[in-house]
Symmetry: C2
Subunit: 136 residues, 2 copies
């Protein structure tokens, strides 16, 4: 497991420090998009700022993507190994309004709609709000 995580970092040219391994592991374990707060809770003794900066680094290296779920907090989810966070690679996110869990529904690719002339699309973020299977 630790190897998998280290490889993921190496693949994106991010030095595998202790903190980075922890943050990435937490994100992989939870299998859902996590907010800074949630990560802080999971990684009990880690500093908020460090996590924040780690996530920033991860974003720049396409290791994670931000999810805007309208909860007021930005959440973070792990990218696929071959992801470049381009338009076509954006997938669906689902926010359960009961338990505040944000799911990355990678298997539900989203259609890029036609946009008006003169507009250029770069990123897509499709969010569905509702209730998840655990809450129903």
């Amino acid at each position: 497991m630790k190897d998998v995580i280290e490889n993921k970092l190496k693949l994106r040219s991010v030095k595998p420090t202790a903190m980075r391994l922890l943050v990435l592991q937490a994100l992989l374990n939870e299998k859902k998009a996590l907010s800074l707060n949630e990560l802080e809770t999971i990684l009990e003794h880690a500093d908020r700022t460090t996590i924040f900066r780690t996530l920033k680094t991860f974003q720049e290296k396409f290791l994670v993507h931000r999810v805007y779920d309208g909860s007021g907090m930005v959440k973070y989810a792990v990218c696929d190994d071959d992801c470049n966070c381009s338009l076509q690679e954006n997938h669906l996110h689902f926010l359960c309004t009961k338990c505040s869990t944000t799911y990355c529904l990678k298997d539900a690719p989203i259609a890029i709609p036609t946009i008006p002339k003169g507009f250029k699309a770069k990123y897509a973020n499709y969010l569905i709000e509702g209730s998840c299977s655990s809450c129903n």
Copy 2:
């Protein structure tokens, strides 16, 4: 024009106070999603709190909907008269990362993707980021 706005309010059983007329007019004039800050700037002498609460009322009465564009600020856009903010009525939003304008692309209906078993969708919010025609 004033009549149009008053009618919109009446239609949703919202008392047409001075502030409410102003806020709704501003939103209609601009033809794009506005943040609280932007509204505060447009309505020079209006109090931030009042605008906030006005928008809250509007939301409850389906006069406006919130737009989460990941800019960190919630934006607000006017609903169509027959809108109930239900899943099917959600439309596309476009954030220009250059001028920070958020457009409501009402003519680009969005497809509701199939979601996993056990999940129930309630609202949809589809955001495209890129650059708009004015900035290209």
